[in-house]
């Protein structure tokens, strides 16, 4: 069941120049599955009319905490960057479908830029279910490698940076870990990156799910603004996604 909740901001932590981590509290935190997202109402930002969809980065069920990992790109996210502990944030959740956690095998989780957001919750959940996830994080430079210790709690983590300042130099699809064998790939990041990863998964015949970030208006399947083209026609990213198996998409890969 979806809820509208006024969360209390516990912490708003700057992770680097343009990324924040919001820690939010509610006593009514519902069950959330990895890959699901929330829709945040941004108050005090006159040009931000619609809610902003943000992936669930992590949850702490025991303490009623929700973690959001947000890259500041425009007015809405800048306003979120200014929010202070004690303030309220009105959020609709949980939204969308979820990643399919396999019962066995070796999963590879690939996150690019703020696409790492949902991967923490996913790797935590996988580890809890006895899997040994491998996480591959790709960013532009070392300053964008964030939440490193957190990821390393649940997964073996590998890195690429475009300028070579941390991990291997290049794009995620060039990392040497891809020479090893995997049974499942889960990917979130810029669409060009996801398409490249999908191409790799396809060539190796590996099951691959990607998380799409289409622009949304309602987030609950009412407006049909967020559709993506699939083999079965237009599907709503907010209700039938955001997670799609690449076999269902019409990507030329």
């Amino acid at each position: 069941m979806k809820k509208i909740i006024d969360f209390t901001v516990k912490e708003n932590k700057r992770l680097n120049d343009d990324t924040i981590l919001l820690v939010l509290y509610s006593s009514e935190l519902p069950e959330i599955k990895p890959g699901q997202f929330v829709n945040v109402r941004v108050d005090h930002s006159p040009s931000t009319f619609l809610r902003r969809p943000i992936s669930v980065h992590d949850v702490d069920v025991e303490n009623g905490l929700l973690y959001l990992f947000i890259k500041i790109v425009g007015c809405g996210t800048s306003t979120l960057g200014e929010i202070e502990p004690g303030q309220k944030l009105n959020i609709i959740l949980p939204l969308g479908n979820n990643f399919t956690i396999p019962s066995s095998g070796r999963p590879l989780l690939i996150g690019g830029g703020c696409g790492v957001a949902p991967m923490l919750h996913l790797s935590r959940e996988m580890k809890a279910r006895g899997l040994s996830p491998v996480v591959l994080i790709g960013t532009r430079t070392d300053k964008d490698i964030l939440r490193k210790e957190e990821f390393e709690k649940y997964a073996s983590v590998y890195y690429t940076t475009e300028d070579g300042s941390f991990g291997e130099k290049g794009y995620v699809t060039q990392h040497s870990i891809l020479n090893e064998s995997f049974d499942h790939i889960f990917c979130c990041g810029p669409e060009v990156m996801m398409r490249a990863v999908a191409g790799y998964a396809n060539s190796k015949n590996i099951e691959c799910e990607v998380s799409l970030e289409n622009t949304m208006a309602c987030g609950i399947g009412a407006c049909l603004c967020c559709v993506t083209d699939t083999k079965e026609g237009h599907k709503c990213v907010c209700t039938e996604g955001p997670i799609f198996n690449i076999k269902d998409l019409k990507w030329q890969i």
Partner: protein
Amino acid sequence: MADLSININGLALKNPVLTASGTFGYGTEFQDFIDLERLGGFIVKGTTLKHREGNPYPRMAETPSGMLNAVGLQNKGVDYFIEHIYPTIKDIKSNILVNVSGSTVSDYVATAEKINELENIPGIELNISCPNVKEGGMAFGTSCASASEVVNEVRKVYKKHLMVKLSPNVTSIQEIALAAEGSGADSVSLINTLMGMAINTKTRKPVLSTITGGLSGPCVKPVALRMVWQVAKVVKIPVVGLGGICSATDAIEFLLAGASAVQIGTANFIDPMVTVKVIDGINDYLDQNGFTCVRDIIGLI
């Protein structure tokens, strides 16, 4: 507790608050947030004779205080609606109206005829004002002759409440409203979206796949209110007002301007509970200002 009920030309509403087509899905999308039976009614998605995929993504552009959409009437067609969706909503105790769209007069007629058979659908909203489909849609609503023709033909086969939804993209909305009234409409609703566009200066390309789209949300409210006032002055049938309503105050403005009921659209996206808040707010306003029933404030200005 004021009496909120209103009868719009045979359609009995428990309160004057409906939801606007295309913004409220089939109602069930909002079930987790509100009790649908509290609504005066809800108008489901634009329904056409045949399945439509709608326009390609991107279909939405946010604007200050509003949004542009170019969904293009994506729906699975009237037969799918009757077989798969109607059974899941028919027992909701509210007025469920179907928004009927088409690209030819015979499409409209065939769709309306099928909906006429559905016992628990007390009316249709004839959409002659969709700016997002190439052929038909708004084309019917922008000239008196074509508006009259389609309303006339649908009237012949449709026996229940026939609401006709008007486009604001015309030189005189009063004339089109009169044409609809003269052709047998039981009520008119207005406004549908205003044609607009948005350009991404980074890519130097239009934001929407269709270049133009329909503007909705609070930014259109003053225009919508003006048109409702103009139309309510000239027609004898009830007027249903919409366009940018986000609060009880907004809704009351439309009622004062002459609307007998209102619809809430885009505001549902920001607050899925807005409809019940508006209903409660209208009641509070009536109580606080000494009105015993909502009918007393309609057209008061």
